[in-house]
């Protein structure tokens, strides 16, 4: 029986990966290949254009510069589908409150100023500057992951109702709880596992390429690169970082599933409009912004860095998980009783 159960779940997850193969499998692979190609190009030009190589060495070896390395990602609202990624190095440390409610996400890998490290493994990582460089790859992958996941969640319980294939899915002996939980599991566990695994492979490849570059610059790749990197620590930070992020973001994902199950026209508007209206209404009538702050805590501000996002407020986290459970129950109810468009 347990064998039957696990094969059931395997089938349900496999189904999701088949339907969203492009966004869940091919997108991370292509992004990784693109990153590797970029690094390879810089390796090839590094010893010709010495500035590139010097800048690279600075990043690899000097801690102080890491904390002020900033990645800003602008998603341009005007040109649909045109996403610009901009990686820039700034000399001034980034502002802590750089988070902005518009679609501009800021990610700051923190090494030097992270609070008391929770374990020796974390503490051990602070000396490895190259970890932070590799962390950038992970940050990029997680940003792509989140864009893809939002799209996945908003479509997953709406598309089958629109094309009426829900009538086929409902003819199979699968309960709506299983359907909804399998989709949440893909968003919180399976897709991140794929993206993190691809990120890790990319990091290994980039490490190899960097060693090649250092070697071509007539330096010792083992000392310069391998001496500055700690893979167990890197993996631990990335996996643990995602687990905490997943706990924080679960209510947001559950809300999107609910919007997808409730939507009659646009799942995106169904998800966004009530939230915006409630926030504005609260500010207008009560002059407070509790809701905005409560929601803001569950939106990825600093998704992954070298620093572990320690849950500062346990109550907010728990409240979020309770909300997630309520949203899921509502989603299942909608799937059972209000599935016709």
């Amino acid at each position: 029986m347990s064998n039957g159960k696990s094969s059931r779940w395997f089938t349900l997850i496999q189904r999701e990966l088949q339907e969203y193969r492009v966004s869940l499998v091919w997108t991370p692979v292509c992004a990784a290949l693109l990153l590797c190609a970029l690094v390879l190009t810089s390796v090839l030009v590094a010893n010709r254009i010495s500035v590139v190589g010097q800048a690279f060495m600075e990043v690899v070896t000097q801690d102080e510069n890491i904390s002020s390395m900033n990645i800003t990602i602008h998603i341009d609202d005007d040109a649909e589908g045109d996403v610009n990624y901009k990686v820039e190095r700034t000399e001034t440390p980034a502002d802590e409150e750089d988070w902005n409610f518009s679609r501009k996400w800021s990610f700051k890998p923190k090494v030097g100023d992270s609070p008391a490290p929770p374990s020796e493994l974390v503490a051990a990582g602070e000396d490895y500057a190259f970890n932070a460089v590799l962390g950038v790859i992970n940050v990029l992958m997680v940003v792509i992951l989140m864009i893809v996941t939002v799209n996945y969640l908003l479509g997953s319980l709406y598309d089958d109702r629109r094309d009426r294939s829900i009538l086929f899915w409902k003819s199979m002996p699968v309960s709506e709880w299983e359907v909804v939980l399998s989709k949440l599991a893909v968003a919180l566990l399976v897709a991140p596992a794929i993206y993190l695994a691809v990120a890790l492979l990319t990091q290994l490849v980039c490490t190899g390429l960097s060693m090649l570059m250092v070697w071509r610059m007539d330096m010792d790749p083992f000392e310069q690169i391998l001496g500055n990197v700690n893979f167990p620590h890197l993996v631990f930070m990335q996996v643990a970082g995602w687990v905490l992020t997943a706990l924080w973001i679960a209510p947001v994902y559950a809300w999107m599933l609910m919007a997808s199950a409730a939507a009659r026209r646009s799942p995106f508007l169904t998800a966004a409009v009530p939230v915006v209206v409630l926030i504005l209404a609260e500010e207008l009538f009560f002059g407070s912004e509790y809701l905005r702050r409560a929601i803001g805590r569950h939106i990825p501000e600093q998704v992954v860095g070298a620093g572990l996002p320690v849950p500062a407020e346990m109550s907010s986290l728990l409240l979020g998980l309770v909300c997630a459970a309520l949203f899921l129950a509502a989603t299942v109810w909608l799937r059972r009783h209000r599935w016709e468009i």
Binding site: R164, W169, K170
Partner: protein, 289 residues
């Protein structure tokens, strides 16, 4: 024979329309029931409430389960094709087979593959690349490979050409049906199903207006073809409908002794479609009065 479907006082109201209005239904194993009615008669709503896909008032029990509460468990024993072309279009045939064999405990993959081998549906193709007829064949192959006790088909052949339709019902009857199974087919293409039915239910405006065993059809209903002066005498006998035929009229009676009609003209058993037309026309007149 065991009771498979039992419904009492089934009702479902949408805002302005009473889609299903107090329907009682009882079916035993080994029956093929035809649910026949005009568009908007409430057939789909009735079938969906039997499947637990829609909320309804009244008591329903299918195989001893409550379809609204135990939908997933019920689906292990009940199959349905709710409409043509509801198979997920992004899937390939192979992925579909993988999915059903991973999910359905009573699915025999080998059998589905044998069914498919006799069609032009190849396993590598996507559902979206198949013609409408092929999609229905694929769906039927999946459903027939499931060892279910009840099969519900809601307008399964709508929009298909006559060759596909004939083959569909032949296959259903020859390769699938046995004494243990129950099949419900809703359609308004009556001629094609009437030979395979054991039970017939007419539905109009949410209510059942006739519910008969096909075996009792011959004794209960008769159609008289009259010409000339006998017509007036024949029409004087209470009848449920009449229509003009070449040179005279065809009149359908319910519960009238055939020996009484035989002197007036040629007596035969009416076809299900003629009886349906007579019944629905009678209903409409009744309502207009």
């Amino acid at each position: 024979m065991s009771r498979v479907i039992e419904a009492r006082g089934l009702s479902r109201r949408f805002k302005q329309v009473q889609a299903v209005d107090g329907v009682d239904l009882a079916l035993d194993a080994g029956t093929v029931m035809g649910l026949i009615g005009p568009n908007g008669a409430g057939k789909t709503t009735l079938l969906r409430s039997l499947l637990g896909l829609t909320h309804c008032d009244g008591d329903v029990s299918v195989l001893g389960l409550d379809p609204r509460r135990e939908h997933a468990r019920l689906m292990e024993q009940v199959c349905f094709i709710a409409d043509t072309a509801v198979l997920p279009r992004w899937m390939t045939v192979l992925q579909l087979l993988d999915y059903v064999s991973g999910i359905h405990p009573r699915f025999d993959r080998g059998q589905a593959e044998r069914f498919l081998a006799s069609t032009e549906v190849s396993e590598r193709r996507k559902v979206s690349e198949l013609s409408k007829g092929m999609t229905v064949q694929l769906h039927l192959a999946l459903v027939m490979a499931i060892d279910a006790r009840v099969l519900i088909l809601d307008e399964p052949t709508l929009g298909l050409d006559i060759l596909f339709r004939k083959r569909f019902y032949e296959q259903l009857l020859n390769d699938y049906f046995d004494d243990e199974r129950t099949i419900i087919i809703s359609t308004h293409q009556v001629e094609e199903v009437q030979n395979i039915l054991t039970e017939v239910v007419f539905m109009n405006r949410g209510r059942t207006i006739l519910q008969k065993n096909m075996g009792s059809f011959e004794t209960e209903f008769s159609e008289l073809h009259v010409v000339g002066e006998a017509t007036a005498r024949a029409e004087a006998i209470p009848h449920i409908g009449s229509r003009p035929i070449l040179g005279g009229r065809a009149i359908i009676y319910e519960g009238v002794e055939r020996s009484l009609l035989e002197p007036l003209g040629e007596v035969r058993t009416p076809s299900v479609s003629d009886l349906f037309v007579a019944k629905i026309a009678g209903e409409t007149q009744h309502v207009q009065r």
